[in-house]
């Protein structure tokens, strides 16, 4: 029997606000434990939450960028459960009337472009963190850090329309790119600012009813999500094929063992006793607020990719790489505006530039590079002032120093030699020094030409115009 996977993803995105969702405490990461706290976020008796307007702005951005329908009146609810990292004994979340419903994220799959519909987007507060003196099982006590408590989160829930681990990965990456473009989340899965839980089931292909699902947790990278989905789909199919059945449960992805393990079954699941939070009034959003946010939404990754392909005539792969970061895409466009060779600029960005950025783990805006630097290098190459090889060397200097490439070419005498007489003199010297190779060439093994070109380039320290070198060598070597 052939099976089909049914996957729905639940993403928790930490919002990049300066202060927490219901108090004025800082959201800054990495501070001393419990330094970003106040009576409100530590759940002291008598304190009350006050909603941070910026969180609503950010939620609206996400909603509008995904074509979701914004609820004019949404409410906050309490999700009740006991845990030491949850100071009030309940999490303030949204339940029955979330801020947004519907909407979609488009992804590119092997079968073409596919739309994954969203169920809902809602706002909620994060919990704190438990610290242990040793591995949990050996610890005699736990310490609680409330710095992360009440940091704002957006929960974004997809419909169960994802059919493979690859689609799941593509959906997550696209959603991450959108949130990063909107500048509302830093999208870092490893650091937990972008988290994902998955609901997975399988069913015989052609069947419309859903199979029993499991919920997967603890996947802290895009790759882990894909691996966990792959494993879990296989496990479920295996169970059914062996005549067993899938049990509704929550399973954890064990990164080391590369498998999912049972955490709790449905019977052990919490009854969260959701009810509207009486401390918060219904959130009302008027047309003016929505319009203001709509105006602030930038061009989104997919639209930008499509436009780059169309407008700059670059391959789909290039546009995807360039549009992974809004800053890189902007940089590309600014460089192309200075010098119109889009493909050459794209090449330089995708190879030399990205290699350095990845190595130094920085964003392009954090470097000394400017778009006119890159445009200048490509322009000098296109005009024959320097060779491509020299261009790469110049890039390294520009990247380190931030100096203008034209200045570097002049100061370091890197201008390409296009003087025919000079090149001819060197070429003849090289041929004379290697009579055996010259004979081989003349006997028809034209591949030896590369050897001579290399020798000439070495003699000229790479400054000779390669096209001219080729032409002159061929002429001199002809019998």
């Amino acid at each position: 029997m052939e099976f089909e996977a049914v996957i729905g993803l639940e993403v928790h995105a930490q919002l990049k606000t300066d202060s927490k969702i219901f108090c004025a405490c800082s959201t800054a990461f990495g501070r001393q434990a419990n330094s970003n706290t106040c009576p409100v976020c530590t759940g002291m008796p008598g304190v009350l939450p006050v909603l941070n307007r910026k969180v609503v702005d950010f939620a609206l951005k996400a909603a509008l960028a995904t074509g979701s329908t914004v609820r004019r009146e949404s409410i906050f609810a309490r999700k009740n459960y006991f845990y030491p990292d949850l100071p009030k004994g309940y999490q303030i979340s949204q339940y029955e009337l979330p801020i947004a419903e519907g909407g979609f994220v488009e992804i590119d799959t092997k079968g073409g472009r596919k739309r994954i519909n969203l169920t809902r987007i809602h706002m909620e507060e994060d919990a704190g963190k438990l610290l242990h003196e040793a591995e949990f099982e050996q610890s005699h006590f736990s310490l609680v850090d409330f710095n992360r408590t009440a940091v704002p989160l957006l929960e974004i829930v997809s419909e169960p329309e994802i059919r493979s681990p690859e689609e799941g990965g593509a959906y997550l990456r696209m959603l991450r790119d959108i949130l990063v473009y909107l500048d509302i989340c830093d999208g870092n899965m490893e650091e937990g600012s972008f988290r994902c839980d998955a609901n997975v089931s399988v069913r015989p292909r052609g069947q419309s009813a859903f199979g029993t699902k499991t919920e997967l947790k603890n996947m802290n990278s895009f790759r882990n999500v894909e691996k966990a989905l792959e494993y879990e789909i296989g496990r479920q199919i295996g169970a059914i094929e062996e005549g067993g059945q899938v049990i509704q449960e929550t399973r954890l992805w064990d990164v080391a063992a590369e498998k999912t393990v049972s955490m709790r079954t449905k019977e052990e699941a919490h009854d969260y006793r959701y009810f509207p939070d009486p401390d918060l009034v219904p959130l009302e959003i008027d047309e003016g607020w929505i319009e203001k946010i709509r105006e602030s939404i930038p061009e989104l990754p997919l639209a930008k990719r499509d436009r780059f392909q169309r407008e700059y005539n670059i391959p789909a792969y290039d546009s995807e790489v360039l549009c992974q970061s809004r800053a890189l895409a902007d940089f590309f466009e600014a460089a192309v505006a200075v010098h119109g060779n889009a493909k050459a600029i794209s090449n330089l960005l995708m190879t030399e530039v990205l290699r350095e950025l990845n190595k130094d783990r920085v964003d392009i805006t954090e470097t000394k590079l400017t778009p006119s630097h890159i445009a200048g290098i490509v322009k000098a190459t296109d005009e024959g002032v320097i060779s491509g090889k020299i261009g790469k060397e110049i890039f390294q200097i520009v990247y380190q120093t931030g100096d203008d490439p034209v200045k570097i070419i002049e100061e370091k005498g890197l201008r390409q030699v296009s003087d025919e007489a000079a090149i001819e003199k060197i070429a003849q010297k090289v041929i004379d020094a290697h009579p055996g190779e010259a004979t081989t060439y003349r006997e028809g093994k034209k591949g030896v030409l590369g050897f001579f070109v290399g020798q000439v380039m070495r003699e000229t320290k790479g400054k000779a115009n390669p096209a001219l070198v080729n032409e002159i060598l061929k002429r001199l070597l002809e019998p």
């Binding site: 009576p39 530590t42 759940g43 002291m44 008796p45 008598g46 304190v47 009350l48 939450p49 006050v50 909603l51 309490r78 009740n80 006991f82 030491p84 100071p87 009030k88 004994g89 309940y90 736990s142 609680v144 009854d271 006793r273 959701y274 009810f275 009486p278 401390d279 918060l280 009034v281």
Partner: protein, 492 residues
């Protein structure tokens, strides 16, 4: 006349005429607390040294010409539900028996800004759950008029302290009648403001959608003065409402001609102690003589209010009280071996019987599969109750009812029967469900000379109407005064 008989207005006048100092008034009250509170048990914490220090500061400020207004230098008490920075705040519970908050409630901050001197924190039913102050971890408070009887609750300590001259005035809280019922049973004046009128920030939550703070005082004018000081929008409380605070004092002593007074017929049925019925009807007759137009009205969903309340309030409480887990503050039991054990033992030892009963009721009402039948339905009934009131207010300006169906009952009389206890608030609860303001003032006495209270209910954010009607009524019925050492009335 002794200092503890003076109204807030009198105290303000004497302080400014330099006939008395804040220190003298404060010392007088502290010595009375020292002498009498062992019996009344109206305080959990008495701030002897801090109060004197504060009184001296207020005296010095006044002599520098720094006048903070009518409450400057006046010693007051606060129900132990308001967080007071650096001062023990127990909420009447073992679980907070060692809790010293690091911050001030807005009510306390406003009272401090107004120049009051805090005498201490007053006894109450645990987490404000009770109608007799008998559920307090610190023992029951006593009714000043008969010490074998309860003072009402949950703000019983505050009402008893006001009625026995152990503070010039007090601020309590009212979730289902917890200001008005004890005020009624102690012969004091108590106001439950409109929901949203007074900030709830720093007031330990019982049922968030119902809780409101309000004054308990000797006279209506005192209540007006105190209400003016604590009312107003607070950006720290999302449910507080930005409606201007009128000068309530100026609504005292006004003419009532043409005021339309509604008498809800559902509030004058069986179960009322005959003397309560008689005295409240006398009060209504007095209002008629004062020029009011008396109109019978109907609030048809009144019968469902108690049931509705005992779903909504415990549901919210079950969630509000989840934070008392022994992790961050308050009491933590010993002898646990794991996390769940720590929670269980701490909460088993830290909460009293009534609080546990309500946590269980509320947890049940919110449970999956029961939510719609209980909580969901209660919310719908609540809407109907509110609608009843709004319709009645199309025809009348205020409503008049008994505050409580009986006068003060005996200690222990109802502790074994929670349902009977709950009935003590049957006339006050609907007001909380509807978010309306209500005032209770003394209107007479029963055969045993115990005070009877009459309740006046007003429109949303129309506390001034309550002050106006209550003030006029008080002018003909007289204030109840302060109880003497024997419980006999001291003439003032």
């Amino acid at each position: 006349m002794e200092l503890h008989h003076l109204t807030l207005e009198d105290l303000a006048e004497y302080l400014r005429k330099k006939e008395v100092t804040s220190r003298e008034i404060t010392e007088h009250y502290l010595s009375r607390i020292d002498a009498h509170d062992e019996e009344i048990n109206s305080y959990v914490t008495v701030l002897n040294d801090e109060a004197i220090r504060r009184a001296d500061e207020m005296d010095a400020a006044l002599s520098r010409g720094e006048d903070r207004g009518p409450l400057h230098g006046v010693p007051i008490g606060l129900k132990d539900i308001f967080c007071t920075g650096g001062i023990l705040t127990t909420c009447g519970s073992r679980i907070l028996s060692n809790f010293v908050p690091p911050y001030d409630s807005t009510v306390y901050r406003k009272l401090s800004d107004a120049g009051t001197v805090l005498l201490g924190k007053q006894n109450m039913d645990e987490f404000a759950m009770g109608s007799s102050t008998e559920t307090s971890y610190f023992g029951a408070a006593r009714n000043p008029w008969d010490r074998g009887r309860i003072p009402g609750g949950s703000s019983g300590g505050s009402a008893a302290a006001v009625a026995s001259g152990l503070c010039a005035a007090a601020v309590g809280t009212d979730t289902g009648g917890s200001i008005r019922q004890p005020a009624s049973l102690c012969g004091a004046v108590g106001v439950k403001p409109t929901y949203g009128r007074v900030s709830r920030f720093g007031m330990i939550a019982f049922a968030s959608s119902l809780d409101q703070a309000g004054p308990i005082t000797k006279t209506v004018k005192d209540a007006a003065i105190l209400l003016e000081a604590i009312a107003g929008y607070d950006p720290k409380d999302s449910t507080s409402v930005d409606v201007g605070v009128p000068p309530y004092r100026e609504w005292c002593g006004r003419d009532l001609s043409g005021t339309r007074v509604g008498i809800p017929k559902e509030y004058f049925v069986g179960g009322i102690q005959p003397e309560v019925d008689r005295e409240v009807r006398n009060a209504i007759a007095a209002l008629e003589r004062l020029g009011c137009e008396i109109v019978e009205v109907s609030l048809p969903h009144t019968d469902y209010a108690l049931a509705c309340y005992y779903i909504v309030a415990p549901a919210e409480a079950s969630s509000n009280l989840a934070r008392y887990d022994g992790v961050r503050y308050g009491y933590r039991s010993e002898g646990y071996s794991d996390l769940i054990g720590m929670y269980r033992q701490t909460r088993a030892d830290g909460f009293g019987v009534e609080v546990k009963r309500r946590i269980m009721l509320g947890t049940y009402a919110l449970s999956a599969g029961y939510y719609d039948a209980f909580y969901g339905k209660a919310l719908r009934v609540r809407t109907l109750i509110k609608r009843d009131f709004l319709e009645a207010f199309n025809a009348v300006d205020v409503l008049v009812t008994p505050t409580s169906p009986t006068t003060a009952f005996r200690l222990g009389e109802k502790t074994e029967d929670p349902l009977t206890m709950y009935l003590s608030d049957v006339f006050t609860i609907p007001t909380n469900l509807a978010g309306l303001p209500g005032i209770s003032l003394p209107c007479g006495r029963d055969e045993e000379s115990l005070p009877v209270g009459v309740q006046i209910i007003g429109k949303h954010f129309r506390e001034e109407d309550l002050i106006k009607v209550a003030s006029a009524l008080e002018s003909v019925l007289g204030a109840f005064g302060v109880a003497g050492e024997s419980g006999a009335r001291e003439e003032s």
